[in-house]
Symmetry: C2
Subunit: 135 residues, 2 copies
Protein backbone atom coordinates (compact mmCIF):
# COMPACT_ATOMS: atom_id res chain seq x y z
CA UNK A 1 0.00 0.00 0.00
CA UNK A 2 2.73 2.47 1.03
CA UNK A 3 4.84 1.42 -2.00
CA UNK A 4 1.93 2.09 -4.37
CA UNK A 5 1.39 5.56 -2.85
CA UNK A 6 5.08 6.34 -3.19
CA UNK A 7 5.04 5.26 -6.84
CA UNK A 8 1.98 7.42 -7.55
CA UNK A 9 3.58 10.40 -5.82
CA UNK A 10 6.78 9.87 -7.81
CA UNK A 11 4.83 9.72 -11.10
CA UNK A 12 2.86 12.85 -10.15
CA UNK A 13 6.05 14.78 -9.27
CA UNK A 14 7.74 13.68 -12.54
CA UNK A 15 4.67 14.76 -14.48
CA UNK A 16 4.59 18.20 -12.78
CA UNK A 17 8.33 18.68 -13.38
CA UNK A 18 7.88 17.85 -17.08
CA UNK A 19 5.07 20.43 -17.36
CA UNK A 20 7.18 23.05 -15.54
CA UNK A 21 10.15 22.34 -17.79
CA UNK A 22 8.08 22.74 -20.99
CA UNK A 23 6.38 25.93 -19.80
CA UNK A 24 9.75 27.35 -18.69
CA UNK A 25 11.18 26.82 -22.23
CA UNK A 26 8.08 28.39 -23.76
CA UNK A 27 8.37 31.36 -21.40
CA UNK A 28 12.04 31.75 -22.35
CA UNK A 29 11.18 32.05 -26.07
CA UNK A 30 8.27 34.35 -25.35
CA UNK A 31 10.26 36.57 -23.01
CA UNK A 32 12.94 37.55 -25.54
CA UNK A 33 13.27 41.32 -25.76
CA UNK A 34 13.94 42.19 -29.42
CA UNK A 35 14.26 45.81 -30.43
CA UNK A 36 15.73 48.17 -32.95
CA UNK A 37 17.54 51.38 -32.05
CA UNK A 38 17.76 54.03 -34.79
CA UNK A 39 20.24 56.81 -34.16
CA UNK A 40 21.51 59.90 -35.91
CA UNK A 41 25.09 60.79 -35.10
CA UNK A 42 26.95 64.09 -35.31
CA UNK A 43 28.98 63.67 -38.52
CA UNK A 44 32.03 65.39 -36.99
CA UNK A 45 32.17 62.74 -34.24
CA UNK A 46 31.26 59.68 -36.30
CA UNK A 47 34.56 57.79 -35.96
CA UNK A 48 34.61 58.27 -32.18
CA UNK A 49 30.98 57.17 -31.95
CA UNK A 50 31.58 53.99 -33.99
CA UNK A 51 34.60 53.10 -31.82
CA UNK A 52 32.56 53.59 -28.61
CA UNK A 53 29.62 51.54 -29.94
CA UNK A 54 31.89 48.72 -31.13
CA UNK A 55 33.66 48.52 -27.77
CA UNK A 56 30.33 48.55 -25.92
CA UNK A 57 28.79 45.78 -28.10
CA UNK A 58 31.83 43.52 -27.78
CA UNK A 59 31.96 43.95 -23.99
CA UNK A 60 28.20 43.45 -23.44
CA UNK A 61 28.11 40.21 -25.49
CA UNK A 62 31.25 38.90 -23.75
CA UNK A 63 30.35 39.62 -20.12
CA UNK A 64 26.52 39.62 -19.96
CA UNK A 65 24.83 36.20 -20.33
CA UNK A 66 21.47 37.86 -21.11
CA UNK A 67 22.69 40.10 -23.94
CA UNK A 68 22.32 37.75 -26.92
CA UNK A 69 22.74 39.91 -30.03
CA UNK A 70 23.98 43.42 -30.80
CA UNK A 71 24.19 43.99 -34.56
CA UNK A 72 25.28 47.57 -35.20
CA UNK A 73 25.50 49.01 -38.72
CA UNK A 74 25.55 52.35 -40.49
CA UNK A 75 23.87 53.19 -43.79
CA UNK A 76 26.10 53.30 -46.89
CA UNK A 77 24.18 56.26 -48.29
CA UNK A 78 24.27 58.20 -45.02
CA UNK A 79 26.87 57.01 -42.49
CA UNK A 80 25.35 59.26 -39.78
CA UNK A 81 22.31 56.91 -39.71
CA UNK A 82 23.08 54.02 -37.36
CA UNK A 83 20.83 51.02 -36.59
CA UNK A 84 21.33 48.51 -33.77
CA UNK A 85 19.38 45.24 -33.79
CA UNK A 86 19.23 43.99 -30.16
CA UNK A 87 18.17 40.66 -28.61
CA UNK A 88 18.03 40.19 -24.82
CA UNK A 89 17.10 36.95 -23.00
CA UNK A 90 14.25 38.74 -21.21
CA UNK A 91 13.11 41.94 -19.48
CA UNK A 92 15.33 41.25 -16.43
CA UNK A 93 18.40 40.78 -18.62
CA UNK A 94 17.59 44.06 -20.36
CA UNK A 95 17.15 45.96 -17.07
CA UNK A 96 20.40 44.47 -15.72
CA UNK A 97 22.19 45.58 -18.91
CA UNK A 98 21.19 49.22 -18.28
CA UNK A 99 22.99 49.12 -14.90
CA UNK A 100 26.34 47.76 -16.15
CA UNK A 101 29.52 49.90 -16.02
CA UNK A 102 30.13 49.41 -19.78
CA UNK A 103 26.61 50.59 -20.71
CA UNK A 104 26.89 53.65 -18.45
CA UNK A 105 30.34 54.40 -19.90
CA UNK A 106 28.93 54.12 -23.45
CA UNK A 107 26.00 56.46 -22.59
CA UNK A 108 28.29 59.06 -20.99
CA UNK A 109 30.92 58.92 -23.75
CA UNK A 110 28.40 59.23 -26.59
CA UNK A 111 25.95 61.69 -24.97
CA UNK A 112 27.05 64.62 -27.11
CA UNK A 113 27.58 62.53 -30.27
CA UNK A 114 23.98 61.27 -30.59
CA UNK A 115 21.63 63.79 -32.21
CA UNK A 116 18.52 61.59 -31.98
CA UNK A 117 17.58 58.12 -30.74
CA UNK A 118 14.45 56.15 -31.59
CA UNK A 119 13.80 52.86 -29.74
CA UNK A 120 11.40 50.47 -31.48
CA UNK A 121 9.96 47.54 -29.55
CA UNK A 122 9.41 44.56 -31.85
CA UNK A 123 7.97 41.04 -31.97
CA UNK A 124 9.93 38.29 -33.79
CA UNK A 125 8.54 36.67 -36.96
CA UNK A 126 11.71 34.60 -37.56
CA UNK A 127 15.16 34.82 -35.90
CA UNK A 128 17.23 32.60 -38.19
CA UNK A 129 21.02 32.74 -38.18
CA UNK A 130 24.13 30.65 -38.65
CA UNK A 131 26.48 33.65 -38.73
CA UNK A 132 29.71 33.32 -36.73
CA UNK A 133 31.58 36.52 -36.15
CA UNK A 134 35.19 35.73 -37.18
CA UNK A 135 36.56 38.27 -34.65
CA UNK B 1 73.43 23.46 -53.31
CA UNK B 2 70.26 21.68 -54.45
CA UNK B 3 69.18 21.27 -50.78
CA UNK B 4 69.57 24.98 -50.10
CA UNK B 5 67.51 25.86 -53.19
CA UNK B 6 64.80 23.44 -52.12
CA UNK B 7 64.70 24.94 -48.64
CA UNK B 8 64.46 28.48 -50.06
CA UNK B 9 61.67 27.41 -52.42
CA UNK B 10 59.83 25.76 -49.51
CA UNK B 11 60.15 28.92 -47.37
CA UNK B 12 58.96 31.08 -50.28
CA UNK B 13 55.91 28.84 -50.91
CA UNK B 14 55.03 28.81 -47.17
CA UNK B 15 55.31 32.60 -47.09
CA UNK B 16 53.05 33.02 -50.14
CA UNK B 17 50.49 30.59 -48.70
CA UNK B 18 50.42 32.53 -45.41
CA UNK B 19 49.82 35.81 -47.30
CA UNK B 20 47.04 34.20 -49.38
CA UNK B 21 45.41 32.77 -46.26
CA UNK B 22 45.40 36.15 -44.45
CA UNK B 23 44.08 38.07 -47.46
CA UNK B 24 41.37 35.44 -48.04
CA UNK B 25 40.11 35.85 -44.44
CA UNK B 26 40.19 39.63 -44.78
CA UNK B 27 38.25 39.44 -48.07
CA UNK B 28 35.65 37.18 -46.40
CA UNK B 29 34.99 39.74 -43.64
CA UNK B 30 35.00 42.63 -46.06
CA UNK B 31 32.68 40.94 -48.54
CA UNK B 32 29.74 40.42 -46.14
CA UNK B 33 26.54 41.90 -47.53
CA UNK B 34 24.59 43.36 -44.59
CA UNK B 35 21.31 45.12 -45.25
CA UNK B 36 18.03 46.11 -43.74
CA UNK B 37 14.68 45.70 -45.50
CA UNK B 38 11.82 47.89 -44.23
CA UNK B 39 8.37 46.86 -45.40
CA UNK B 40 4.79 48.00 -44.94
CA UNK B 41 2.26 45.20 -45.18
CA UNK B 42 -1.45 45.26 -46.00
CA UNK B 43 -3.05 44.89 -42.55
CA UNK B 44 -5.77 42.56 -43.90
CA UNK B 45 -3.09 40.10 -45.07
CA UNK B 46 -0.67 40.39 -42.17
CA UNK B 47 -1.00 36.83 -40.85
CA UNK B 48 -0.49 35.34 -44.31
CA UNK B 49 2.50 37.62 -44.89
CA UNK B 50 4.16 36.65 -41.60
CA UNK B 51 3.68 32.94 -42.35
CA UNK B 52 5.23 33.34 -45.84
CA UNK B 53 8.20 35.35 -44.49
CA UNK B 54 8.84 32.86 -41.66
CA UNK B 55 8.80 29.89 -44.07
CA UNK B 56 11.11 31.72 -46.48
CA UNK B 57 13.62 32.68 -43.76
CA UNK B 58 13.76 29.17 -42.30
CA UNK B 59 14.26 27.59 -45.74
CA UNK B 60 16.91 30.08 -46.89
CA UNK B 61 19.02 29.65 -43.73
CA UNK B 62 18.68 25.86 -43.89
CA UNK B 63 19.50 25.27 -47.56
CA UNK B 64 21.73 28.20 -48.62
CA UNK B 65 25.28 28.19 -47.19
CA UNK B 66 25.72 31.90 -48.06
CA UNK B 67 22.57 33.17 -46.30
CA UNK B 68 23.92 33.76 -42.78
CA UNK B 69 21.22 35.74 -40.92
CA UNK B 70 17.57 36.63 -41.53
CA UNK B 71 16.10 38.36 -38.47
CA UNK B 72 12.50 39.35 -39.24
CA UNK B 73 10.41 41.35 -36.75
CA UNK B 74 7.32 43.55 -36.69
CA UNK B 75 6.82 46.68 -34.60
CA UNK B 76 4.71 46.34 -31.43
CA UNK B 77 3.13 49.75 -31.99
CA UNK B 78 2.35 49.08 -35.66
CA UNK B 79 2.43 45.40 -36.70
CA UNK B 80 2.18 46.38 -40.39
CA UNK B 81 5.78 47.73 -40.15
CA UNK B 82 8.18 44.83 -40.72
CA UNK B 83 11.99 44.95 -40.61
CA UNK B 84 14.36 42.23 -41.83
CA UNK B 85 18.04 42.34 -40.85
CA UNK B 86 19.97 40.32 -43.46
CA UNK B 87 23.58 39.03 -43.59
CA UNK B 88 24.94 37.26 -46.70
CA UNK B 89 28.46 35.77 -47.07
CA UNK B 90 29.11 38.01 -50.10
CA UNK B 91 27.67 39.53 -53.28
CA UNK B 92 27.68 36.15 -55.08
CA UNK B 93 25.76 34.50 -52.23
CA UNK B 94 23.22 37.32 -52.37
CA UNK B 95 22.80 37.06 -56.16
CA UNK B 96 22.43 33.27 -55.90
CA UNK B 97 19.77 33.75 -53.20
CA UNK B 98 17.63 35.84 -55.58
CA UNK B 99 17.50 32.91 -58.02
CA UNK B 100 16.36 30.23 -55.55
CA UNK B 101 12.91 28.63 -55.85
CA UNK B 102 12.00 29.56 -52.24
CA UNK B 103 12.87 33.24 -52.78
CA UNK B 104 10.87 33.37 -56.02
CA UNK B 105 7.96 31.64 -54.27
CA UNK B 106 8.12 34.18 -51.41
CA UNK B 107 8.16 37.12 -53.89
CA UNK B 108 5.20 35.75 -55.87
CA UNK B 109 3.15 34.83 -52.80
CA UNK B 110 3.65 38.19 -51.07
CA UNK B 111 3.52 40.46 -54.14
CA UNK B 112 0.07 41.82 -53.32
CA UNK B 113 0.65 41.88 -49.53
CA UNK B 114 3.61 44.30 -49.56
CA UNK B 115 2.57 47.95 -49.82
CA UNK B 116 6.13 49.33 -49.79
CA UNK B 117 9.67 48.02 -49.58
CA UNK B 118 12.81 50.01 -48.73
CA UNK B 119 16.21 48.26 -49.04
CA UNK B 120 19.03 49.87 -47.06
CA UNK B 121 22.62 48.87 -47.78
CA UNK B 122 24.72 49.04 -44.62
CA UNK B 123 28.28 48.68 -43.32
CA UNK B 124 28.88 46.74 -40.07
CA UNK B 125 30.18 48.52 -36.96
CA UNK B 126 29.86 45.40 -34.76
CA UNK B 127 28.13 42.06 -35.45
CA UNK B 128 28.14 40.49 -32.00
CA UNK B 129 25.88 37.55 -31.16
CA UNK B 130 25.63 34.41 -29.08
CA UNK B 131 21.91 33.90 -29.75
CA UNK B 132 20.83 30.34 -30.53
CA UNK B 133 17.36 30.00 -32.01
CA UNK B 134 15.65 27.32 -29.89
CA UNK B 135 13.51 26.22 -32.89
Amino acid sequence: MRNTSCRRLFILISFLMAILSVSSTAAQDKDLVVRIARLRIDSAQLDNYKAALKEHAETAIRVEPGVLTLYAVYEKNDPTHVTVFEIYAGPDAYQAHLQTPHFMKYKTTTKNMVKSLELIETVPIALESKFKNPN
